[in-house]
């Protein structure tokens, strides 16, 4: 019989509860309320004035669509990479597997300058793409590239264990019933990986919305064109427009909460699916 309720008797409840709550309040809750309360002082009219400003809307659009595009790219490529890592053995697999974590480990500023260099007109990809008359440097595509880089591990690391755990028997059963490979894949395998894939992509999207460090080096950061929301906040801050910064900041905070809620929900759903 497992305990369902009751504190149990391991000592230290009071101490760990006290320490945890104090630290979380000090580090997270109080600072968040500082911003929220500052923003709450702004009248609704002024708030909408700030948020509905053309430049702000443009920035939200840039951030939003870049994050969506990057999430979709990661949806596809992240799945393929996770699939290969989970299903195939090949020389150097361990290294490739470890490298997926590079975007987690490398500072965003470093990723930013190096991606900017790779895709610059003098860089390898820049030169390659210029053969086709494509220039990604300082375009919106650059933003997407940076966010793809940042988001890749979210998708791969969410999907990979799910593919590994897939029950071979189900595929065999489908095969024994006469399904061909593609039927097996699309009717049996893919649907069971899909929740994980959506979860990973949602996490990558949420991360992409707020990404700053890697993006600003590769983007031209032109207002209305390629200016992301986090950058706009910093610019407002530098112009001492605290009302503007807090209004946009609070809006981003709300979006972050919503995304957190969605990804938590998806993750719980996934856990339920997997355990059943």
């Amino acid at each position: 019989m497992k305990m369902k309720n009751g504190r149990g008797k391991i000592p230290g409840f009071g101490l760990s509860l006290g320490l945890s709550l104090s630290y979380l309040s000090f580090l997270i809750l109080i600072p968040i309320s500082a911003l929220v309360i500052y923003a709450a002082k702004i009248s609704p009219a002024e708030y909408f004035n700030i948020i509905l400003d053309e430049r702000v809307i443009a920035a939200f659009k840039v951030s939003f669509f870049s994050a969506i595009a990057a999430a979709l790219l990661n949806f596809v490529f992240g799945f393929i990479i996770a699939w290969i890592l989970a299903r195939h053995n090949f020389f150097g697999k361990k290294i490739v597997d470890a490298c997926i974590d590079l975007p987690f480990a490398i500072p965003t500023a470093v990723a930013g300058i190096s991606l900017a260099m790779v895709f610059s007109l003098n860089g390898f990809m820049g030169k390659f793409l210029s053969l086709f008359n494509i220039s990604l440097e300082y375009s919106r595509a650059g933003i997407v590239i940076a966010i793809v880089f940042i988001g890749l591990p979210f998708v791969v690391r969410t999907v990979q264990p799910v593919i590994e755990e897939l029950d071979n028997g189900v595929e065999e059963a489908a095969a024994s019933l006469g399904a061909n490979y593609f039927q097996i894949f699309f009717k049996v395998v893919f649907p069971s990986v899909l929740p994980a894939l959506i979860t990973g992509a949602a996490m990558a999207f949420a991360r992409g919305l707020g990404e700053y460090g890697s993006v600003i080096f590769i983007s031209s950061n032109m207002p209305y064109e390629s200016e992301i929301v986090p950058l706009l906040i910093i610019k407002k801050l530098m112009q001492f427009d605290y009302a503007g910064a807090s209004a946009i900041g609070a809006t981003m905070l709300v979006i972050a909460f919503i995304m957190l809620f969605i990804t938590n929900f998806l993750q719980n759903y996934m856990i339920k699916e997997r355990s059943s």
Binding site: M1, M3, K4, N5, G6, G8, K9
Partner: protein, 263 residues
């Protein structure tokens, strides 16, 4: 000089785990808490150990009220279903743990700890395994280590949660006979939880049959088998191995007799 459990009740949320349970356990006996899963037997054991607090009722150890006493001050030996051996410690260190964590004032010296542990490993017949780690032992051996570890603190009561539950059938049979013999040797008051009727009948002096948080019947193995007080007990014990009871009675008769006279 008993362990007295009076009117103990415990709820987990809406689930009533124990409903007004009272038992009196005589010193030196080995008793079984028997019942289907979810009947509250493990909760009762954990309450005796102090790992849970009852919502109502009291626990007395030899006249002293233990209801609110801390686990670490109760001096109980608890054997967990999955042994809960410390996997980073070898067998010696596992058994010595309870002695080594004592406050300096009452901690035995190194030599005494060594002698104590060695005595216990030979009691559980694992003399050659002191330097092994739990992962290098079989299930039955681990169970014996868990028992030795619990005995090292010289507990006033030994509590065993499904002690043979995780073992395969053959080992289980050997080990329960062994446990019975061990108990006859050391006479520590013992309470064990089981859902296996044969196990309860073969090992224990008396059996507490539980169902849905209540006690259905308390009595010696013969008594509960021969005269079940209600249909549940009759049904629950309907397919037990009767010769087991008779055998044990014969085999243990003399020992038990001595025991009773001693008290």
């Amino acid at each position: 000089m008993n362990i007295e459990i009076t009117n103990v009740s415990k709820k987990f949320g809406n689930f009533i785990a124990l409903n007004d349970v009272s038992i009196n356990i005589p010193k030196g006996e080995i008793i079984a808490l028997l019942g289907p899963s979810g009947c509250g037997k493990t909760t009762l054991l954990r309450i005796i150990a102090g790992l849970e607090t009852p919502d109502y009722g009291a626990i007395k150890f030899f006249g002293e009220d233990f209801t609110n006493k801390k686990v670490k001050d109760r001096n109980v030996g608890f054997v967990f279903q999955h042994y809960a051996l410390f996997r980073h410690m070898n067998i010696f260190e596992n058994i010595a743990f309870g002695l080594r964590v004592r406050p300096k004032k009452i901690r035995p010296d190194k030599k005494a700890i060594y002698e104590n542990v060695m005595r216990l490993v030979s009691l559980v017949q694992l003399d050659n395994f002191v330097n092994r780690f739990p992962s290098e032992l079989s299930g039955g051996q681990r169970q014996r280590v868990a028992l030795a570890r619990a005995l090292a603190v010289e507990p006033t009561v030994l509590l065993l949660d499904e002690p043979f539950g995780a073992l395969d059938a053959k080992v289980r049979k050997e080990l329960r006979l062994w446990l019975r013999r061990l108990h006859d040797e050391i006479h520590v008051t013992s309470i064990f939880v089981t859902h296996d009727q044969d196990e309860a009948l073969e090992v224990s002096d008396s059996i507490v049959i539980m169902n849905k948080g209540k006690i259905e019947q308390i009595g010696s193995p013969e008594a509960v088998c021969d005269s079940p007080v209600n249909p549940f007990v009759a049904d629950f014990l309907s397919d037990v191995n009767r010769p087991l009871v008779k055998n044990k009675k014969k085999k243990l008769f003399d020992v038990m007799n001595d025991d009773r006279q001693g008290i």
